[in-house]
């Protein structure tokens, strides 16, 4: 059974189409693997009944021929995606018991293609966190382990990354507002891509910061990312920021030929305290791209340093507005009220009980920066700085750069609980290399590059031009081939 779970999406697709395996076998193998992965706490809602029904339907489609790529493939869905009739909590107590009466566009597209939902996945509450520790379900655990400590799988898509790295499902959906796909992928030795803003519909995904949020796949390799992203992407009239452009065949873009492409290496992404192994991997990756025929160019993105502070104005501001809807009236939980409590007390108690500490902190910071007298000084200034960050990228792209190579994170995964005593700002710094990409709306992919001195995975990030995911995936594919990373965690949890 577990041999099946070693398959990649592309391999499983081909085996399904040739009739070597069935979707039911694959789904049973996934459900069994999930069952034995409880210590990872990656899966938080059981959807095995739905999965079995979807697998039977997928087998029928496969037998009839003409099945889409994703048909019959068992995937996990992040708890941020509204799934029809299936508990969707965004890992928050305030949405305890919430069963959407509709399906998010992205999950609907995946199911229409025949994908099998084997469970809902753990995450940081409302996707606010970088370690999966703000979840109401408790943290997910990284399958990678090198000593007694349990490590974070990263966040916010920590459950997605842990589940895929542990080979309990073949791929998973994630969302990325400041690095929430790429950072967990880097921490768990797998691949994750955040597409261009507007490529995937946000409809039915619980909103955190609407101008930054994008869905994307968390997969075992670049080819799988290409296959799954194509299934997730596309225009949707229900999301006014989704863009009406054709979705190319991303897998067909994987030629492995990047001769003549220009790769930028930004000097601002070399930060103090970066481990030597990361420096080495970054320069090795650069050499590999050069050896593959790319032109390497040193570039400058001068406003990089201001991306995190700008993000910590814009994202909380949007969150404070988006999360105003959790008021104890239409969905989720309402706090127990005392005699004489009016509607204001209902709001205040419901939100005090239902939101966790980090979510409250961000809502209140957002409220503050949007409040009268501070709007210009904080919110408008941050939006101006955001325009400059985007302009930095536009300038290097107009100078002929096709993609930018950086580390994905400033270090490998840290121990769960290690950041708790520190200032929240320390945790924010883990997104230093990923957050710029959200602010500029660009596509970014993290691929596993190697191990640090302790034996933990490190990732490299490639950032592409807007709407050029195919080109970006091809560069990542070329680098992946050269890096030849194939280390896997020991299955200590079984």
């Amino acid at each position: 059974m577990s041999e099946l779970m070693k398959l990649k999406l592309a391999e499983a697709r081909d085996a399904l189409r040739s009739g070597k395996i069935t979707a039911v076998e694959l789904t049973d193998a996934s459900l069994a693997a999930i069952d034995s992965s409880k210590p990872l706490n990656a899966f938080v809602h059981d959807t095995s009944e739905i999965a079995r029904a979807q697998a039977i339907a997928a087998d029928e489609r496969l037998q009839a021929g003409e099945a889409p790529d994703m048909c019959g493939l068992p995937i996990g869905i992040k708890d941020l995606f509204c799934t029809n009739g299936v508990t969707t909590q965004a890992a928050s107590a305030i949405l305890d018991g919430f069963k959407p009466q509709y399906e998010s566009t992205v999950s609907k597209k995946l199911f229409n293609d025949g994908s099998v939902m084997v469970g809902k996945l753990n995450m940081d509450e409302f996707a606010m966190g970088s370690s999966n520790e703000t979840s109401v379900y408790g943290n997910a655990v990284n399958p990678w382990k090198v000593d007694d400590r349990d490590l974070t799988p990263g966040g916010s898509s920590g459950g997605s990354a842990a589940a895929v790295a542990a080979e309990t499902c073949l791929a998973a959906t994630g969302t990325d507002t400041g690095g929430s796909i790429r950072q967990p992928a880097a921490f768990t030795g797998i691949t994750g891509i955040k597409p261009t803003y507007g490529r995937c519909s946000r409809w039915g995904i619980v909103a955190f910061a609407s101008s930054l949020d994008q869905a994307g796949p968390v997969t075992k390799d670049v080819r799988d990312a290409a296959i799954m992203l194509e299934a997730m992407a596309g225009f949707d009239a229900k999301d006014s920021t989704s863009v009406n452009l054709p979705v190319p065949n991303f897998e067909a873009a994987l030629t492995g030929d990047i001769r003549g492409k220009t790769i930028g290496i930004p000097k601002e992404y070399r930060v103090d305290g970066m481990p030597d192994e990361l420096e080495t991997l970054w320069s090795d990756g650069t050499s590999m791209l050069r050896d593959a025929g790319a032109i390497i160019k040193n570039i400058s993105l001068p406003h990089t340093k201001y991306a995190l502070p700008a993000y910590y104005v814009i994202a909380p501001a949007e969150a404070s507005s988006n999360l105003a809807r959790y008021d104890g009236v239409r969905f989720g939980q309402r706090a127990k009220l005392e005699a004489g409590d009016g509607i204001t007390e209902m709001y205040e108690k419901t939100r005090a009980d239902g939101f966790g500490a980090e979510v409250k902190r961000r809502i209140m910071i957002g409220t503050y920066v949007l409040s009268a007298g501070f709007y210009d000084a904080y919110y408008n200034r941050a939006r101006r700085v955001r325009a400059l960050i985007k302009r930095d990228f536009e300038q290097v792209f107009s100078d002929g750069v096709d993609a930018i190579l950086t580390p994905s994170t400033p270090s490998a995964a840290f121990g769960l609980g290690e950041m708790a005593a520190l200032d929240p700002v320390k945790m924010y710094l883990f997104d230093v290399f990923t957050v710029t990409v959200n602010l500029a709306g660009l596509p970014g992919i993290s691929i596993p590059a190697g191990l640090d001195s302790k034996g933990l995975p490190l990732g490299l990030q490639l950032i592409g031009r807007p709407w050029e995911e195919g080109d970006l995936l091809n560069t990542a594919f070329t680098l992946e081939n050269a890096l030849d990373f194939n280390a896997k965690p020991n299955k200590w949890w079984i």
Binding site: Y197, G342, K360, S371, V385, A440
Partner: protein, 95 residues
């Protein structure tokens, strides 16, 4: 900028999140730390730069102004903590 407990209480009120009096000093300190981090933005020369409203250079498209959904009262009320007679129920708002 240092945030005092009075400001912290005002922000909590605006955000409709109940914060106990005893927790206000710690909250004010957290705000101070985070705003201190944010204040790096003051170093940037933003003269003449328009605040970004949309990261993609497109106007939001408009849908046809037609009814395309509706008649879903049950589905809309299904998740309400308190729904009665086809309405959301809340504590009394007017005397």
């Amino acid at each position: 900028m240092s945030i005092d407990t009075k400001t912290a209480a005002r922000v909590a009120k605006l955000a409709r999140i109940k914060v106990d009096e005893a927790d206000l000093p710690a909250l004010a300190q957290e705000f101070t730390n985070i705003l201190g981090f944010i204040e790096q933005l003051n170093e940037v020369d933003v003269e003449g730069i328009e605040p970004m409203t949309s990261v993609t250079p497109q106007r939001l498209f408009r849908r046809e102004d037609v009814v395309n959904d509706g008649n879903q009262q049950d589905a809309v009320l299904r998740n309400a903590p308190d729904a009665r007679e086809g309405f959301f129920a809340v504590p009394m708002v007017v005397e």
